[in-house]
């Protein structure tokens, strides 16, 4: 999906041009990131309250369950959990990159802008008030919540004088997120029985995710990723401003609508799997931009690897930090992401990308 955006140059040209060197370095970095992701996946399968040697993990993967408890742990707990981490990480990272690109706001993140809180609120409504328990059904509520929150935050941020500035948009998102998170936790507290399944989920956790939570969401995430890949190039033009992108022949409104659609599906899907997790969508696109520069296509390509890497590593840290207990992954990403947010806001040009 990502390689298609990086047309390979014939390698046998004699002199190496600077652009080619940059491209080689980007591809090399991408391969390194892919290797790191593989290591993180291995770690996520092996490390936990019960450490399992890698060869046992490998055997379980190859030969299926031999009814040893280690193999059962790997197959029934660790693999779904790792897949959930990869899927949620991908979705959060790419939706963060999208939301930063389309709002031209370096502080944007589906968590900070209240999108995940909106999805979580609607899921809590569906589960608690309407009594919906199947993921296939409440998934739609997650999408609806993410969509409503995105639109509301954008509307609030762009009312009044001085249209949607990064500052206003961020504050509007934080405020809406606070309200929705407050109402959600009030609902969870008021009826612990009905919301039992949602308690750990609401802190942002990958624990106890099994296939019937993950599988229904995956097609939607895939669709969101394809959509994001399709609009990567026009988003480059939008980064130059609405006027320039119009003169370049980009249908700005259409791209905006498609972006909101992709953000909705990705952030809503990630929240349906793992609960509201903030800061992944903030950090990863910035790291990617720091490595590859402002080209959205490369940012997406790197985000695809770095975001799952970050979420898996954060999840592993959460498993180790409190042995034999666990720290929810959302807490770990908050601790990692908060310093990044501070560094970003301290930079001189906070308003532009």
């Amino acid at each position: 999906m990502t390689i298609q955006h990086t047309p390979q140059q014939p390698a046998d040209t004699g002199a190496v041009s600077p652009t080619e060197r940059i491209r080689t370095r980007r591809i090399l970095g991408w391969v390194l990131a892919a290797l790191a992701l593989v290591v993180a996946i291995a770690g996520s399968l092996a490390i936990g309250s019960r450490d399992i040697p890698l060869d046992v993990v490998w055997n379980a993967l190859l030969h299926g369950s031999d009814s040893s408890s280690d193999a059962v742990v790997v197959l029934d707990l660790r693999i779904p959990r790792t897949v959930a981490g990869i899927a949620a990480g991908l979705a959060l990272g790419v939706s963060g990159a999208l939301i930063q690109a389309v709002t031209r706001n370096p502080l944007a993140d589906p968590g900070i802008l209240g999108v995940n809180a909106g999805a979580a609120f609607f899921v809590a409504l569906a589960v608690g008030v309407l009594g919906i328990t199947a993921v296939e059904d409440y998934l739609w509520f997650a999408f609806l919540g993410a969509f409503v929150a995105t639109v509301v935050v954008y509307l609030i941020g762009s009312t009044g004088r001085g249209a949607a500035s990064p500052a206003k948009l961020t504050l509007a998102g934080v405020a809406l997120g606070a309200v929705l998170a407050g109402v959600t936790s009030a609902m969870l507290l008021s009826d612990p029985e009905a919301f039992n399944a949602l308690q750990s989920w609401n802190a942002g956790s990958l624990q106890f995710r099994d296939w019937n939570v993950i599988l229904p969401v995956l097609p939607f995430l895939l669709a969101g990723l394809v959509l994001a890949a399709a609009i990567a190039r026009p988003l480059n033009a939008i980064a130059l401003g609405d006027d320039v992108s119009l003169s370049l022949g980009v249908n700005v409104l259409l791209i905006r609508v498609l972006s909101v659609l992709a953000i909705t599906v990705l952030a809503g899907g990630a929240t349906a799997i793992a609960g509201p997790i903030a800061f992944v969508g903030l950090m990863v696109p910035h790291v990617a931009r720091w490595i590859v520069g402002p080209d959205q296509r490369w940012i997406f390509a790197y985000t695809l690897l770095l975001a799952p890497l970050l979420l898996l590593v954060a999840d592993i840290v959460g498993r180790i930090a409190l042995r034999p207990g666990e720290l929810p992954v959302g807490i770990v990403t908050a601790c990692l992401g908060a310093p990044v947010l501070i560094v970003l806001v301290r930079r001189a040009r906070v308003s532009g990308l």
Binding site: A175, V179, L189, A321, I331, A334, G337, V345
Partner: protein, 353 residues
């Protein structure tokens, strides 16, 4: 200054002119103060009368003033009165603390709950509980130190050629996210008993406040009150700018430090007993200013508005919230978040945010 007669006359005339021109404002402030005080008393009586064993206002008054050991008397004075008094006193303290900080930072969003002091107080208190043990002194000292440290860290991290409101707020949000993570970690590591008592408190609740908790906190607040009155004059001078304040004989830096310490002490005292209660400190001074149409942020008005707001929020949390009693902090987060959205939406000069 008034050595000659003519100067004295001029001053007298000036005072007359000033008085006549300012009288409507004074009268309005006085009326608003009176109305707020009456509202606080009426609400307190209603709160004392409502619950599983409802009492009418005359019954409440009788129970308060006639000590005949009746069941009604026990309910009102032993069970409900500490909570109501705590709501009034804590609300007033939060309101004043908010007014001090907003005046000091010159920004409606520069309030201690937004920029993370209450979360910091909570962290300090948690550390004190886990290290020293759960006594009133250790909790309060921990809350105070935690709040002050957080204040200092947020201020320093936001400092870059002066402190700009938006940067202060985003740094505060980041630090809050970080400290929330730390708090979760501490809670998960703590013993079950500590975690139980600490987590009720973590969402901001005065439901478990009895005389044992209310009396020491109120003593501290009563001690702090004269300091606030002493500081109100330098505070007004500082609002005019450092130069004007110096010209009026205010030593600006010591005054600023004293205001900071008193403001943090107020909010830390509340947090030590009730946990982090958000948004009262944000909203009360702004509401008081609009009600009284005063030039600066009125301290008395803020105190009364804060008291009324917290009592009202606690009443809603206890009796009116759908799905049973919830911690008051959840109600204030919801209401205050809506208020913050409104503040962002109607913001006319977005540079101030």
């Amino acid at each position: 200054m008034t050595t000659t007669n003519s100067k004295g006359t001029a001053k007298a005339i000036g005072r007359v002119i000033l008085n006549t021109s300012r009288r409507p404002m004074h009268r309005r402030t006085r009326i608003v103060t009176l109305i707020l005080a009456i509202a606080a008393v009426v609400l307190a009586l209603l709160a004392l009368g409502s619950g599983d064993y409802p009492l009418s206002v005359p019954e409440v008054l009788r129970a308060l003033f006639v000590r005949d050991g009746s069941f009604e008397g026990t309910i009102v004075t032993e069970w409900r009165l500490p909570r109501v008094l705590a709501a009034l006193a804590f609300g007033a303290a939060l309101g004043v603390s908010g007014a001090l900080f907003q005046s000091l930072t010159g920004n409606p969003l520069g309030s201690p709950d937004i920029i993370g002091f209450s979360t910091g107080s909570y962290t300090g208190a948690l550390i004190a509980i886990t290290v020293v043990g759960d006594t009133y002194i250790s909790t309060s000292a921990g809350a105070l130190v935690g709040g002050l440290t957080t204040a200092l860290v947020v201020y320093l991290l936001a400092y870059r050629r002066g402190v700009q409101g938006f940067r202060l707020i985003i740094v505060g949000i980041a630090i809050t996210a970080l400290l929330t993570g730390v708090n979760t970690y501490l809670l998960l590591r703590a013993s079950v008993e500590v975690a139980m008592s600490a987590s009720i408190w973590g969402s901001g609740s005065i439901s478990l406040v009895g005389w044992d908790q209310a009396v020491p906190a109120m003593i501290v607040l009563v001690v702090l009150a004269p300091l606030v009155i002493l500081l109100s004059r330098p505070l007004r001078q500082l609002e005019l700018g450092d130069d004007a304040a110096q010209a009026h004989g205010v030593r600006t830096e010591p005054a600023r430090l004293a205001i900071l310490v008193v403001g943090v002490a107020l909010i830390a005292t509340v947090t030590a007993v009730a946990g982090p209660i958000a948004f009262i400190a944000l909203a009360a001074p702004q509401i008081a200013q609009r009600l009284g149409r005063s030039a600066g942020l009125p301290l008395v008005g803020s105190a009364l508005t804060g008291a009324v707001l917290l009592l009202l929020a606690d009443f809603v949390a206890q009796h009116l919230f759908p799905g049973g009693p919830v911690p008051v902090g959840i109600v204030t987060v919801c209401v205050g978040g809506l208020y913050l959205i409104w503040l962002v939406a109607v913001d006319r000069k977005s540079s101030s945010m």
